[in-house]
């Protein structure tokens, strides 16, 4: 195997055995970026300076969990003095004056930060085509999208342009691109990872999580980034778990629910067959699998498209051209400066969502849209709680299809539908992981979603680890 194909734990083993040095690893990944970046285009910024700093700090941090490991970061997480654009013209030249907590934790653990990855503008989208700068291409087939909004992170991991990456997930933005790119993506319980320094999209839904080549790496990354942060008042207090303790090949007696209403939705037949075949494997390994009944996922999607735009319209009000970011040069007074700055700085989807949100929050419509959606949120959360009284996990597909072709979906609603299986999880605030379960007839990866109760990351990791062993497809890489 090539160095750039190795996982975090494999790289750590090779460093420990004296077979590879951090400098050799960094160079191998830099070479890989030079080799494939023109065709994949995962990165908005390749951060040579940060990578060199990480490498220089190796001796001091060599006991860190990620010492000498090349990691990529989505371009909506603040990096001190390094451009953080959110793939928006609004922040094209913005260099944050501080590090996000998650980025700080990576550095403390000795990570070598390779670059900032492409995404849908302000994380609003499902294909990374809403980036104001360029498209990212799926490493398994360059004519296809990598998914989104963390498409650059997922593509970078799948293409061997980093060992692992951070993404953020508001309605599926870690899991759906992970599924499309054949890698592992975990959205932790809301509040598990500090959002300090994550550029806000929808604050009650946003969560940072890892995108990795396998489940073991996901556990290692969670050990690094999870934990309470006084700088994020929604981050959860409590004892930190060692997620690597759940890396056990054992699902015997584990109760897994299969929600009939999700599997009855209109989605790709090959995806359904692949997911059901993987469920069958879990059953053979001793899991107790049962059909369960839940609220139709389309209600969660409807609630999401009120709640997320409403919070976004409020969060994005800060881009006014006064303190940082773009300021329009075509303005004679302050009011024109606001409107022209926002006209020139925001792309199509961002404007659309700001308007939906503004409308849903406006006087006379608040009760009908926002309050109603928040009540439906309660029903959806209760629905998950009810299932988790009797079950350890719920399994669904991650996405209704494999990776879509670039440019194939121009209708916003059609694009929103690609998140039908992932959105309910953010609405309920529970954790979920996408793990590769097979390939369709075009050799595009398929993802299976494992959903757990609040703080149930451990069980998810254990089941995903077991499934990974049973399926034995994790070493298959995209050929570039």
């Amino acid at each position: 195997m090539n160095i750039y194909d190795l996982t975090i734990h494999e790289l750590k083993d090779k460093i420990a055995a004296g077979e590879l040095t951090p400098a050799e690893i960094k160079n191998a990944y830099s070479d890989r970026i030079n080799e494939v970046e023109d065709s994949v285009k995962s990165y908005i910024t390749v951060t040579d300076q940060l990578a060199d700093q990480g490498l220089a700090a190796y001796e001091k941090k060599k006991d860190g969990l990620l010492a000498g490991i090349p990691i990529a970061v989505k371009d909506n997480m603040s990096t001190d003095g390094i451009k953080t654009s959110c793939a928006s013209k609004m922040l094209e030249n913005y260099k944050p004056p501080y590090d996000a907590t998650a980025v700080e934790k990576l550095s403390e653990a000795g990570a070598v930060i390779m670059g900032k990855t492409n995404m849908d503008e302000f994380a609003m989208g499902s294909s990374t085509e809403n980036s104001a700068f360029f498209n990212t291409h799926n490493p398994w087939n360059l004519n296809h999208a990598p998914g989104g909004s963390s498409g650059g992170s997922a593509a970078a991991v799948a293409a061997g342009e980093c060992a692992a990456a951070l993404g953020s997930d508001t309605g599926g933005s870690i899991r759906q691109p992970a599924a499309y790119c054949g890698v592992v993506g975990l959205k932790p319980t809301y509040g598990m990872v500090s959002r300090y320094g994550l550029v806000a999209f929808a604050s009650s839904l946003d969560q940072i999580g890892p995108i990795t080549k396998d489940v073991e790496d996901s556990a290692i990354m969670m050990n690094v980034i999870a934990g309470h942060d006084p700088k994020d008042s929604t981050s959860i207090e409590g004892k930190k778990e060692d997620y690597t303790e759940y890396l056990k090949e054992d699902v015997s007696g584990m109760k897994i629910g299969i929600p009939e209403e999700y599997f009855n939705l209109d989605f790709d037949k090959e995806v359904k067959e692949s997911v059901m075949a993987a469920v069958e494997k879990l059953k053979e390994a001793g899991a107790e699998v049962e059909t369960v009944h839940m609220t139709d996922a389309s209600y969660a999607l409807a609630a999401y498209y009120v709640i997320a735009p409403a919070e976004a319209s409020s969060n994005l009000a800060r881009y006014d051209g006064v303190r940082y970011g773009l300021r329009s040069e075509h303005a004679s007074d302050v009011s024109e400066m606001f409107t022209n700055t926002r006209h020139e700085g925001f792309g199509d989807e961002v404007k659309r969502r700001i308007m939906i949100g503004t409308y849903a929050l406006s006087s006379g419509y608040y009760d009908a849209y926002y309050l109603k959606a928040q009540k439906v949120r309660t029903l959806i959360k209760d629905d998950f709680d009810r299932i988790f009284n009797d079950f350890d996990l719920i399994v669904t597909p991650t996405a209704p299809t494999t990776a879509i072709e670039l440019g194939s979906k121009s209708d916003p609603l059609e694009m929103y539908y690609t998140d039908i299986f992932t959105v309910p999880i953010n609405i309920a605030g529970v954790p979920a992981m996408s793990v590769p379960c097979g390939f369709d007839s075009n050799q595009m990866p398929i993802g299976l979603q494992l959903i757990g109760p609040h703080f149930g990351e451990g069980k998810i990791i254990q089941a995903a680890y077991t499934l990974e062993k049973l399926l034995n497809i994790k070493d298959k890489r995209a050929e570039l």
């Binding site: 009650s204 009120v306 700001i354 109603k372 928040q374």
Partner: protein, 95 residues
């Protein structure tokens, strides 16, 4: 169903400038999205308490003590325009 006036109103509240073509396009697209959202009315929520956060949250308080903050120079480093250590913006009030 929303019309062009609603779109103009929302855009105004959000400080967004739209050209005619955008207004037409957004009226149609946002109309379709809100039609989809209307599904929510099929669910009975009369006695349901709304949820803002899904995990238990309480107010987070800390001692009112001065802590380290960003130096002024760093805070101003991204300013589109600055003067005398402050952000500079177009005039808000007339002379």
């Amino acid at each position: 169903m929303i019309d062009k006036k609603d779109v103009e109103y929302a855009a105004g509240l959000a400080q967004l400038k739209l050209d005619e073509e955008e207004k037409e396009k957004y009226t149609e697209q946002i109309g379709e999205i809100l039609d989809y959202v209307d599904k929510l009315s099929e669910l009975d929520t009369d006695d349901v308490v709304p949820t803002a956060y899904t995990v238990p949250m309480k107010n987070v308080l800390r001692k009112d003590e001065v802590q380290e903050s960003l130096p002024r120079e760093k805070s101003l480093a991204n300013a589109p325009d600055e003067k005398d250590g402050q952000f500079r913006a177009p005039k808000i009030m007339s002379d």
